[in-house]
């Protein structure tokens, strides 16, 4: 396959991944690295570099829409970005020290776990919110729009959430993913924030987190322009289309299908890592 054919194939796959990723909320970038490494034999470091830039594109595009709707908690996002950016730089450092086979195994585990998370039901409102004084001081408590008007909510366990975000940032920097599922988990479970606020605030944070590790990856020579080009253009075009269709479609079946794809790719990554193929 020459460069022209390779670019066309990769951008088509990227578009499909971006479309399905934005419809299902799993994110499109997450399947690109396994597809590039498992199907096309691309070195995992090049694959991670290319995926990372595509994540910045989709997140920044989506963030402008989410902020307008009033779901994002801007203060909470900015405060937690201290943790995710520091984590991301640490993760990007580690990426150079850890053998690629170990990176593949960790990547696989995260994919399998994300699939598992996406199948669980999502409680919208949490009960018995006890106030965290730190949340009060940092003005993190806020409200979000519901069909019955603006619903106030409180943020709990700020320190635990901040710590979890260091971890989510580190995984994002190590694997070149948005780690949206893990960010949502930290906000939804530890800080007990309404699900819609968690997802849109997480989206708001992903681009900034990815930009932090992108600097390190660029400096190390992991970002190849000719490989990143079709990935970034394909994924962002697909994600844009997906966001337009979000209202009309029932994503339940799609979510199962895409979830199975992500899960299988995850198992394949673990196998390839353990058997030393990556």
């Amino acid at each position: 396959m020459n460069s022209l054919e390779f670019s066309l194939v990769i951008s088509t796959i990227g578009a499909a991944a971006g479309f399905l990723g934005s419809l299902t909320g799993l994110g499109g970038g997450v399947v690109i690295t396994p597809v590039l490494t498992l199907l096309f034999g691309v070195d995992i470091r090049y694959a991670i570099g290319a995926t990372l830039v595509s994540i910045i594109a989709t997140s920044s595009g989506a963030a402008s829409a989410f902020v307008k709707e009033g779901f994002s908690n801007i203060r909470l996002g900015m405060f937690l970005e201290i943790a995710t950016t520091l984590g991301a730089i640490t993760g990007a450092f580690l990426a150079a020290k850890i053998p690629t086979s170990a990176i593949a195994v960790i990547f696989g585990l995260v994919l399998v776990y994300s699939t598992f998370l996406s199948t669980r039901p999502k409680p919208e409102v949490h009960e018995s919110a006890s106030a965290d004084p730190l949340a009060e001081r940092l003005k993190l408590n806020s409200s979000y729009p519901t069909p019955h008007g603006w619903q106030p909510y409180r943020v709990e366990h700020v320190k635990t959430g901040f710590g979890a975000m260091l971890g989510a940032g580190a995984l994002s920097g190590l694997l070149g993913i948005g780690s949206g599922a893990l960010k949502v988990l930290a906000m939804d479970h530890a800080m007990r924030i309404p699900f819609k606020v968690s997802t849109s605030t997480s989206n708001f944070m992903i681009g900034v987190t990815a930009a932090a590790s992108a600097g390190v990856y660029l400096n190390r020579g992991y970002i190849d322009p000719v490989l990143a080009m079709p990935v970034m253009l394909g994924v962002s075009a697909g994600a844009l289309l997906g966001a337009r269709h979000l209202r009309g479609a029932d994503p339940r079946v799609l979510r199962i299908v895409f979830g199975v794809v992500v899960g299988v790719l995850g198992l394949e990554m673990i196998y390839s890592g353990l058997s030393g193929k990556i």
Binding site: L4, V42, A63, G221, P225
Partner: protein
């Protein structure tokens, strides 16, 4: 000084314009590259790392001046990375307009980490 709503709108515009500009530059550079080298066989199986010219802001700029299509794509990717950084920068003004000193400080910390990582200050010596 802009009010809060105008700042929010400005941030939205910056994000959209940033991504669109970056994508256009990447597409332009990509079409140019493929028109010239599209028949070559790419090989990403072994990791060599990119040449120095594609690893820093100054290097990429030098390549663009020397009319290298790969450097033009990389410039587009740099613009993309700069987009969320610009958003954080604008947020500093947004919080300053609200006289929220805590969040001006928090936002400046995030901005410092981002700028540091991009200029290679935080990266390890090779």
């Amino acid at each position: 000084m802009l009010n809060e709503e105008q700042l929010d709108r400005t941030i939205g515009v910056v994000l959209r314009v940033g991504v669109m500009t970056a994508a256009s530059v990447v597409l332009g550079g990509g079409v140019w590259y493929l028109a010239r080298f599209g028949m070559e066989i790419p090989d990403y199986r072994a990791f060599h790392g990119e040449p120095q010219d594609l690893r820093s802001v100054a290097g990429v700029w030098k390549g663009v001046m020397a009319i290298q299509p790969r450097s033009v794509i990389q410039l587009g990717l740099l613009l993309l990375v700069a987009t969320p950084i610009a958003r954080v920068g604008l947020s500093v003004f947004a919080f300053a307009a609200q006289r929220d000193r805590t969040y001006v400080a928090i936002t400046l910390i995030v901005l410092a980490v981002l700028v540091g990582s991009l200029t290679g200050l935080v990266s390890p010596p090779r």
